[in-house]
Amino acid sequence: MNMTLIGTTLAALLTIAVYSFLYKDNPFYKFAEHLVVGVSAGYYLVIYYYNFIDPTVVSPVFRLRIGGDAILLGGVDWWMALIPGLLGLILYARFFPKIGWVSRWALGIYVGGYSGLGIAPVMQARVLDQIRGGALPVHALHTGQGWTNLLLVVGLLGTLTYFFFSLKHKGVLGGLARIGIVFIMVGFGASFGYTVMSRVSLLIGRMNFLLHDWLRIV
């Protein structure tokens, strides 16, 4: 009995425990559920410590090293490593009700920083590029491409109209919004149908694991 076999057997039993949930909630599922919540919470705690806190704070501040390079105590790099450490520590202020509000300083930087970061790339990739992709020539209606382009433009305009919030969906606007919802529903149906495959793939993968890797019967 080697470690690989023990590991595979453990994994297989846990796999079956999870599948038992399809029948109904039961002690085996509860065991697997609590185990994986604990294990994964521990996993992320450790991984984030070693991937971020250690290299950006602990190593430079206490061991005076960034990557392989030595830094000076009290030098610019040292102070720059201390700041995220202090920001991280003030997050813990929330455990002390009297100074709990200090943790908002760190949250402010976090929330603000990420908010700002998104604006321009979103404008580029989600708005401008999509406008470019959406502005298509709609001549040549005697060909398939002409009609396709017309549908693409109309569908896009309809979908945009559906998301108009500050006007009542009546008249032309209502008509366009209606076209929009038709396109949206067809799109959602397509996504649903398209997804079935990847979900079944996962099931095939698990069955492969049970039958091939564990039981070795196929």
Binding site: V36, V37, V111, G134, A135, V153, F165, S166
Partner: protein, 409 residues
């Protein structure tokens, strides 16, 4: 679009006149291309012709340290005699050249991304047939410099500023007391009923704010909605359970719920253990939440924020325990599943409109108006773009013009 920031990947075909020019240039420049201290390049009789027209410019829109070098292909390239081009750099026009890069035949450009900033640099391109290298004339001086503004992004800047102006203008107008209409959002009209139902049944409400971090704007939208929901559960004295997948989201949501309970004067009813962190791991989180669903049997489940593949596992488990489910997400891939498994679904942008809708705060409604106006402008841009593309296709206006407008727009 492509090529706006970098080089085109296409290489120039070598036409007749180019060959003549290149050969002439090569003949004329040949001696200069052979510095004495480059012993590996003796002057051969039947040598391959060196590349001509070497041009080096500071790479545009970058953080410095980079020079773009381009040249005309060696006339012998088309005949397959070229093995590679090697690019040389020096601080002097005719001595001290060192190789900085190598490209395949047929390629006529190279980005030297190790160029020192602010020094005059000279470039040469050598062509190699495997046995010897033949040098072009040197080009220079050129300086690699960092830029303070990314010109390729000017459209994004203008569009973003326009958007900021639109939002700020309508927010101010709303503050000034302009009355603003907002259309019905089906799912949210039932929020009161959903909370009321939970109260009647004496069962909790489960609020799931997605799996993303607070860096995802969708999560912030979810947090805003949670604030409004918490006010209602505090009023009705209904238990609100909020399992979180991200620790910062948890910290923020604890604040939000506590504050909402305080606002309606029920701070005593707030239980910090009901807003808790489970795990960041996607399906471990799902395992935990599914367990909560089948054991607590919540009357109502709200899914708001960013969701990934877990959406359907959660929503189907929720449906199987008979909960009323309202979802809202901007995750286009997950919307189909919420739509099939939930009672009401907020689609895409509706999620962002939700906090304005629920709170009816004029400033938020003003922001929404600003979004709508931008959307109208985008619709107009698409229509105009389609019309000009059509006119170009019909030959009324030149394609060049349309292409330029679309690329720069």
């Amino acid at each position: 679009m492509r090529g706006a920031t970098g080089f085109s990947r296409r290489t120039r075909p070598v036409g007749g006149p180019t060959i003549v020019t290149a050969t002439l240039a090569a003949l004329l420049l040949f001696p200069a291309a052979l510095p004495a201290q480059e012993p590996e390049a003796p002057a051969p009789v039947a040598a391959i012709a060196p590349p001509a027209g070497v041009l080096a410019v500071d790479s545009p829109d970058d953080r410095g340290g980079s020079v773009d070098v381009s040249w005309d292909l060696s006339p012998d390239d088309a005949e397959g005699r070229v093995l590679c081009y090697r690019i040389y750099r020096s601080a002097h026009p005719d001595t001290g050249f060192a190789p900085v890069g190598l490209v395949a035949p047929g390629v006529s450009r190279f980005r030297d991304s190790a160029a020192p900033d602010g020094t005059p640099l000279h470039y040469r391109v050598a062509v190699s047939d495997g046995e010897r290298e033949v040098f072009s004339a040197s080009f220079g001086p050129v300086e690699a410099l960092p830029q303070w503004f990314h010109r390729g992004r000017i459209t994004v800047l203008i569009a973003s500023l326009g958007f900021v102006v639109a939002i700020v203008y309508f927010v101010r107008a709303a503050k000034a007391g302009k009355d603003l209409f907002i259309r019905r959002l089906a799912g949210l009209d039932h929020m009161d009923d959903a909370v009321g139902r939970a109260t009647e049944m004496g069962k909790p409400i489960l609020f799931i704010s997605g799996l993303s971090t607070i860096s995802d704007v969708a999560t912030i939208a979810a947090v805003n909605i949670l604030g409004e929901v918490a006010k209602k559960t505090a009023e009705y004295n209904t238990r609100l359970i909020v399992p979180c997948a991200d620790p910062i989201v948890m910290a923020v949501e604890q604040e939000v719920v506590k504050e909402a309970y305080a606002k309606v004067g029920r701070v005593d009813a707030y239980n910090e253990d009901d807003v808790f962190y489970l795990t960041r791991s996607q399906f471990a989180y799902v395992a935990g939440v599914s367990g909560i669903m089948v054991r607590q049997r919540p009357a109502t489940i709200l899914y708001m924020g960013m969701f990934y593949a877990e959406s359907l596992v959660l929503a189907e488990t929720g449906a199987s325990v008979g909960s009323i489910q309202i979802a809202g997400t901007d995750a286009v891939t997950q919307l189909p599943f919420f739509i099939t498994s939930c009672d009401y679904t907020l689609i895409g942008e509706e999620l962002y409109a939700a906090s304005a809708y629920l709170s009816r705060e004029p400033v938020l409604l003003g922001g929404l108006k600003g979004q709508d106006m931008t959307k109208a402008a985008i619709g107009l841009a698409i229509v105009l773009g389609a019309i000009s593309a059509t006119l170009a296709a019909l030959g009324v206006i030149p394609w060049d013009f349309v292409a330029r407008v679309l690329v720069n727009a």
